[in-house]
Symmetry: C2
């Protein structure tokens, strides 16, 4: 048997509980069901398509605030449905899980506005209801608009948010791993004993940011600690990821530089006592595919007509903290602190862009982004994905929405068989929890992970 | 046509996302599915049975803490599954709603540990996903164990919790009623306008306990403000209910005194400008029924054997704040402040009990409780329910779990047809939202309600 051209590719559908995400404006495209985000029927269909394609997960981004940097207002965000409105993503997952058997789910939850005791309970409940098919994308938020709505003047400064997050993780690990022993639940009907009291423990925490004591409200679920996702680009974020993350979202184009960043995170994980292979690295990708090149190009042109330029700039402004409605030519010297994120010069460097190309963010295509973008036949798509897998040493992709949900159907029907033929895509799900499906090493978190420090 | 013997009876199934509730121990009864609370299949079955019986709702109680008053520890609570473990109830509701068409859902959510902006979003999401079939049971918590787990030394004092709740309601009303105008969402595909920015408003609040500003993250749902449930027994609680509640849970046995309490709440609601008929009053009821008296008695005896006395006392101790494992004879003079609740004397007065009967809490039967309890044929059950409806001037009942879920099946198959024959039970659901099904006056909250003060 010949060696496959790259390792097995993990594919995930990237979503938010919103009509507008990433490629803003596509809710208005003929055939789009994006405006049905309020309906469980829609989400069940997304789940079933994804499971038919043997996707690892449907992953939900989330924000707790409204993008209001562009023009200093929320006008464009509201009009263009730019990551807005944004319903709670946790509440659609159980129904999607109930309609599927093997598909897993990722969900973003912000730790800044909820006590760890409450968040730990929500995720244990989800782990029970999905039979171990849940992951948590750990975020601390980035929007002052969210902080204000939640009752603060502004959010904490970036590195301090990570300090708080470190301590928050300690508390939730105690609850998930340290409150109930594995043999606590006995269901002894003859003696009316549901659980052994000597196997259930109150945990306590006295730290700088959190102070609590309590028994975890939930009996142990299949994974206990959910699979942990993270997306930290900064140095502080990378250290957090090396310690905690089991899947890491990587921005930027696949390149040797990306591979270098990934190796450095793996190296840092190793230095912290973890197996570097216990972290998967996932990149965002937009894929437009059809049986022939001409059809793929036509599809691309069609979608392009519905991507809304102003909506794109409004969201990009919110994400970057830089108002892209302004004439930015006066700011290239880097002397003005851009809102929240640093100077324009730093921003351009990070985005690998020159100032005159900033408006490219408004367009559908590779010029908009720092992310993978392919238009082509299934064979061309497969060639490119395999090339990126190898060049960047990544583990897979999160598929951006561009069809709502025709893009998923295209990928499942056209690209998945091609990848399977090449031996780089699974032909069946692995058994067990999300964690076991990903790593094949059991349902519980891997050795060397800090969560294990709190296991009883 | 003869006048029916009482008004139409509202029936609801009372649940918690827990294997043990109210009648503790029944998870161990043959045929009980209570330990399946972690499975969505179980909850879907509960929903389908309830809808078959034309129940108004499945209602979820909830606690954020562990009962640890009995013996000053959580031992009995853990062993006997005394309202413990307790998973998050919000997460099972969407799947139950997806499996039904007309059944509504009530859910308890504690406002003490979540910013109003986040809670408002969760309920708007639920209102969307259920097509307007959701209600919120407003609670402020009563357990110090929950306060400690959430990071506080202890909970706020009782009346202060209501002051905070009053202000909290103001914030969520602003978000639900005042942020989006009815005609904000236009879905204008030709111009790529999802919503009109001039119809979506930032709301702000500067109060003693809350300070925020933000745009509600969710577009208007069918009900906007969910149906509001409340259960406040104290004077302060009754005033809160008269102002805000649309359904009120009433404790105690149905009696003239209960009718008097209900009239006083309705009178207070009227004095606040509300229609007194815009509040429904619901009492808890345990019903054991079978085609013959002998069979009903046998069923009662069987269930009795599985009700766990220690578990019952552990939960009652937690709810009352009084450790019922102790010899209480020294405390009858009322001089000792019982934990959290007042003196033993006050407690006994409230419970309409004498000290030597406190241990009755351990038993399955009317002697345990302050709540309706019937063992009998469907005809006897119907007689009693109608008598109570008239005597206490209530609107209906919450059915306690005693069969998991055989008690629901019995009620649906045996009692519902009997009530329908007597003209006191609906034969079909009303159209629309939960609110319209209950009151027949539309989906939005009724005139005179304080939520309307914040409508744009």
């Amino acid at each position: 048997m010949t060696k496959p051209p790259c390792k097995e590719i993990s594919v995930n559908a990237f979503y938010a509980n919103s009509p507008g995400q990433n490629w803003i404006g596509l809710w208005s495209m003929p055939g789009s069901r994006a405006a049905e985000y309020k309906s469980l029927d829609y989400w069940v269909d997304v789940a079933r398509i994804s499971e038919r394609g043997l996707f690892d997960s449907v992953f939900f981004a989330d924000t707790s605030g409204v993008h209001d940097v562009y023009e200093g207002s929320a006008r464009a965000t509201i009009e263009r449905a730019g990551m807005f409105p944004m319903n709670d993503p946790l509440l659609v997952i159980p129904t999607m899980a109930h309609a599927t058997k093997n598909l897993s789910f990722g969900v973003t939850a912000n730790l800044s506005y909820e006590p760890p005791y409450a968040l730990a309970r929500r995720f244990s409940t989800l782990d029970h209801l999905t039979n171990g098919r849940i992951s948590w994308n750990i975020v601390t938020g980035f929007q002052d608009s969210a902080a204000r709505a939640m009752g603060r003047d502004k959010q904490h400064e970036h590195d301090r948010r990570y300090d708080i997050a470190e301590e928050y993780m300690e508390v939730v690990y105690k609850l998930w791993e340290g409150s109930w022993e594995d043999d606590a639940v006995v269901l002894d009907k003859a003696n009316s004993i549901y659980a052994r009291a000597d196997r259930v423990h109150e945990v306590s925490h006295e730290g700088e940011h959190f102070r609590m004591r309590g028994i975890h409200l939930c009996e142990p679920s299949m994974q206990r600690t959910p699979v942990l996702f993270q997306a930290g680009g900064s140095a502080r974020g990378r250290t957090f990821a090396a310690r905690h993350a089991e899947c890491l979202f990587i921005n930027g184009l696949p390149s040797k530089a990306t591979a270098e960043r990934i190796r450095s995170v793996r190296e840092e994980a190793r230095s912290l006592g973890r197996n570097p292979e216990d972290i998967k690295f996932i990149m965002m990708a937009t894929i437009v595919t059809a049986p022939t090149e001409a059809e793929a190009r036509d599809k691309y042109e069609m979608i392009s007509r519905y991507v809304d330029g102003e909506g794109m700039l409004a969201v990009r402004s919110g994400l970057s903290g830089i108002d892209l409605s302004r004439d930015l030519s006066g700011f290239v010297n880097g002397s003005e602190k851009a809102r929240g994120i640093g100077t324009i010069t730093e921003f351009l460097l990070k985005e690998e862009k020159s100032l005159d190309r900033l408006k490219d963010y408004a367009k559908f295509g590779p010029q908009a982004g720092r992310e993978c973008f392919i238009v082509g036949t299934p064979s061309q798509v497969a060639d490119t994905l395999i090339q990126w897998m190898n060049e960047a040493e990544i583990d897979g992709f999160n598929l951006h929405r561009s069809g709502e949900p025709q893009h998923l159907i295209d990928f499942v029907d056209l690209v998945v068989p091609e990848l399977q033929n090449r031996g780089v895509y699974k032909t069946a799900y692995r058994e067990g929890s999300f964690r076991n499906k990903l790593f094949g090493q059991g349902d519980r978190i891997g050795s060397g992970h800090p969560a294990l420090n709190y296991r009883v």
